[in-house]
């Protein structure tokens, strides 16, 4: 019994048990590195991906709940050679230290910008609250998001 998932615009039949958290399917079945295991409890945001336009914690979202819904990961935004706008802004601001939280940060910010292309600085800060960074890269993350927010739609 498999689950039909739409990941980054493509259909996949996933053999994993329907209770398996999306994170493990992304990382292992799909071999996508972006979403990271941080806490497994939806407390840190390292696993953040976008489902139907909303930022969700993939570590606590069972794949069985995702049939017919569109899952997007950071791999859908661009590549190292051809980064998307947010990715390019994170590179421009060198908005990473260890970087383990960064893919989740970018996906949460992407969800905001798709909903509200020009958030102000306070809206950005509030929106990013669920995601943790331990290296203290917060100011660079905020600056990178604000860069895109001040430009056109993401």
């Amino acid at each position: 019994m498999s689950t039909q998932l739409t990941i980054n615009g493509k259909q996949h039949a996933v053999a994993a048990d329907s209770g398996t958290p999306l994170l493990y399917v992304l990382r292992n079945d799909m071999q996508l590195n972006g979403a990271k295991f941080g806490c497994g409890m939806g407390q840190c945001g390292a696993c953040t991906v976008i489902v139907d336009g909303k930022a969700v914690f993939s570590c606590i979202t069972p794949v069985g709940a995702l049939e017919g819904r569109a899952v997007r990961t950071i791999e859908s935004l661009g590549t190292a050679d051809h980064p998307g706008r947010l990715q390019a802004a994170f590179i421009k601001h060198q908005a990473a230290q260890c970087g383990y939280c960064i893919a989740g940060m970018i996906m949460r910010a992407q969800a905001l910008l798709e909903h509200n292309p020009h958030p102000d600085d306070q809206q950005i800060r509030r929106h990013m609250e669920p995601n943790l960074c331990r290296c203290g890269t917060h100011h660079r993350i905020l600056a990178a998001i604000a860069d895109v927010a001040k430009g056109g739609p993401a």
């Binding site: 590195n33 190292a80 990715q87 383990y100 509030r126 609250e129 890269t137 100011h139």
Partner: protein, 742 residues
């Protein structure tokens, strides 16, 4: 408690070092220095060339001209990979994309001990600066011999030696012209360095080479490794320190879907499965199937500091100057404390092990592949040369987190399934409950002014458990202590001055004629502890700088002026203090708004590395006991700057991380064991709490030595917050975290 005179001890210590190198086996020797370094080969050589003097250990040139640069230091998320590449390429006229860089591989790189203590650029950077300059000179010499011309007129350009007449030769051909071919030759004490003002690569903000993969889902971490046929493992740790396994039903777990192997060895439990989620599910079943009994009782957190001060201590007088107790001036007497703090890596520790062809390879985000290899070889009872540790990045560690422990898990589990690669990652609660915490600490200070308002006397004591429980022997690794035949940890030792451990930065840098400082090292404390960024400097600089503010008030002096008056002979220290005060707009006696506070903090990391001064402006909310950090102004001098943006990134990060530790963080524990199993029971600063503005000014020192920077701001930021909060609340708080409920 017996007091040991440091003068005699230092001599004995030195003797032990000398004997250690010549007479003790490698495993024992690792205990004698906190950095895990090999013996000195030639003390005249710059940086880590002292320990690894051969040029080809650092820079290799293939016959086709391709260049490989090696460092024993590893990328921990601080950007050192990029900075080391910049340094290595400065003299070699190459771009980062032209070379292969290897950091931390026991089969391929120099042994530079641990990547720790803000040492990387000073040790490895200095080695690479000189090695690359000497290699560049050899390339010119080799080409000159073949062209029968003088080497002086030849230049390096884009991987070629170029003659004035336009002839070009790639580096692989150039070294063939040397009378003694190849680069397997010892480095010289001095190098033909380019003038520091003429550097082209050093001093530029080269974008970090690792960031593009990290923002695009590239394979960037050990967590991202997928080897063919790899199994996923999960461990089950005891619920409490010291708990014993009373019974477990392994058979039920072994029958679960995808489970390939279960491991039960004493109190050590693990499960290996063909899929990661199946491994997690089986781990949960194994947790439920295990019954534990006993465990070590822990003191209550509010009693920890009295507990520490009552424990047996090894007392080291680390400063004795002038005559104490002669004056009768106004004085200050204060006790400062710090609770246990967690490293709190966002990604739980992970490692991959593979035993094949009689060689055990472990991919690990350890801070020291060589010391770890020795510990793992002892753990699995294999010869050193049959174990290889390869560094692969993990989540930021900020000191010793679970990296070494999970590498031990990977080694044990790989040996349980020979030929099959095994990836093991800790769960969040396992990382939190079993990491070696930053020690709880106590300091007391008594300081006295003379009749002219200068400091006459300073008495300071610090009590702390170990800040260095790194391997070491295999017993330093958590899994080793859980086995049916456990390996006990080797004895804990204090880290000697001048770097120090609990007593790091315990010596005030200020001009004080009479002073006595004692480090009460506690070999055994209630919890396992180890290195976390800045070690004792976090609390020591807070205590020193808090006392400076109190003394300034006694002397009716402005705190910044008071500091400058006691830094008479130290121009670099004065310069950062003046710069931070200037940026901030510090004015003597400036009136404060209600619940508003300004605070200042200064320190030179270890009294021998980077100088950092920080001023902060905070708004306190007395009803909610919260603080808004309105502004941070930071000035830093870390010697010659390699990558200015990288230095800023580190300072900004240290400011935010230290603010989180200082205001909020404390491990929760009690009679049931450690309670801080997740981010709700161990909250750290989120976006809503970070400073509204951070300004960083760098003072570059071309031609002066590289000084590390990643750990230099933690103490000054904590001190600035402590002093700002004293003004904002009207009452000094001396116990960290400053915003704890009390």
């Amino acid at each position: 408690m017996s007091t040991v005179d440091m003068g005699r001890r230092a001599i004995l210590g030195h003797g032990a070092l000398l004997f250690g190198f010549s007479m003790l086996p490698a495993l024992a020797h690792a205990q004698f220095n906190a950095m895990g370094l090999p013996a000195l080969a030639d003390p005249r050589l710059p940086g880590s060339l002292k320990n690894t003097p051969f040029l080809d250990a650092w820079i290799q040139i293939a016959p086709d001209g391709r260049v490989t640069v090696c460092s024993g230091k590893v990328e921990l998320g601080t950007g050192v990979r990029t900075a080391l590449i910049q340094i290595a390429l400065e003299q070699l006229a190459l771009l980062p994309a032209d070379i292969r860089f290897i950091g931390g591989d026991t089969a391929l790189t120099p042994n530079e001990g641990y990547t720790a203590g803000s040492h990387t650029i000073a040790d490895s950077g200095t080695a690479l600066l000189h090695a690359s300059a000497q290699v560049a000179a050899l390339l010119r010499e080799g080409a000159a011999a073949q062209w029968k011309t003088g080497a002086g007129a030849l230049v390096l350009d884009a991987g070629r030696v170029v003659a004035p007449d336009g002839r070009r030769m790639h580096y692989g051909d150039a070294i063939k012209g040397l009378r003694m071919p190849g680069l397997h030759r010892t480095a010289s004490p001095s190098s033909p360095l380019r003038a520091p003002g003429a550097y082209r690569m050093i001093g530029t903000s080269l974008p970090r080479v690792d960031i593009p993969a990290k923002v695009s889902g590239g394979a960037a971490y050990v967590q991202d490794m997928r080897l063919p046929g790899m199994l996923h493992a999960r461990v089950v740790r005891p619920p409490r320190i010291g708990a014993r396994l009373a019974g477990v039903d392994m058979a039920t777990v072994a029958r679960l879907p995808g489970v390939r192997k279960t491991v039960h060895d004493g109190n050590y439990l693990a499960v290996l499965a063909d899929d990661e989620w199946r491994a997690v599910s089986a781990m949960r079943a194994l947790t439920a199937a295990a019954r534990w009994e006993g465990g070590t009782a822990l003191p209550q957190p509010d009693a920890i500091h009295a507990t520490l001060q009552a424990l047996p201590s090894e007392d080291l007088v680390i400063l004795q100057r002038g005559a104490m107790g002669a004056g009768r001036g106004p004085s200050i007497r204060t006790r400062y404390t710090k609770q246990y703090v967690m490293h709190g890596s966002i990604g739980p520790s992970c490692a991959v092990g593979h035993l094949t062809g009689g060689v055990l390879t472990v991919w690990t985000h350890t801070q020291g592949v060589f010391p770890l290899r020795a510990a793992l070889a002892e753990l699995v009872n294999m010869p050193l040369e049959k174990v290889r540790c390869i560094h692969a990045e993990g989540s930021g560690c900020y000191g010793q987190n679970g990296a070494d422990d999970v590498a031990a898990d990977a080694a044990l589990l790989a040996c349980a399934v020979p030929g099959v690669p095994v990836r093991v990652q800790l769960m969040r609660d396992q990382e939190n409950l079993w990491e070696p915490y930053a020690p709880a600490m106590v300091t007391t200070v008594r300081a006295e002014l003379d009749g002219s308002g200068r400091i006459r006397e300073w008495a300071y004591d610090v009590w702390s458990g170990s800040h260095n429980e790194r391997p070491g022997n295999a017993g330093k690794l958590v899994p080793a202590g859980l086995l049916a035949r456990p390996i006990l940890p080797s004895r804990s030792l204090p880290m000697p001055q001048p770097e120090g451990g609990g007593d790091r930065n315990a010596l005030p840098l200020y001009d004080i004629p009479n002073a006595r400082v004692v480090n009460h090292f506690l070999p055994v404390t209630p919890l396992r502890t180890s290195a976390m960024r800045s070690l004792g400097a976090h609390l020591n600089i807070s205590a020193i700088e808090g006392t400076m503010d109190q003394l300034a008030a006694l002397a009716h002096a402005d705190p910044v002026r008071f500091r400058l008056d006691h830094l008479g002979s130290q121009p670099r220290a004065r310069a950062v203090v003046e710069r931070a005060a200037g940026m901030f707009g510090w004015r003597a006696g400036a009136a404060s708004l209600p619940h508003r506070g300004r605070g200042f903090g200064f320190g030179q990391y270890k009294n021998l590395m980077a100088f950092v001064a920080i001023a902060v402006d905070v708004q306190f909310d007395p009803d909610r006991n919260t603080v808004r950090i309105l502004r941070v102004a930071c000035a830093a001098d870390c010697g010659q700057i390699v990558n200015p943006d990288g230095v800023r990134n580190q300072l900004e990060g240290a400011i935010i991380q230290s603010a989180s530790w200082t205001l909020h963080e404390q491990l929760r524990y009690g009679s049931d064991g450690i309670a801080s199993s997740d981010w709700s029971s161990y909250p750290i600063m989120r976006f809503s709490g970070v400073p509204e503005r951070i300004d960083v000014a760098l003072i570059d020192q071309p031609g002066l030595p590289f000084l590390g920077v990643a750990e230099a701001a933690q103490g000054p930021m904590a001190a600035a917050l402590l002093n700002a909060l004293a003004q904002a609340t009207g009452a000094r708080r001396h116990d960290l975290p400053l915003l704890a409920d009390r």
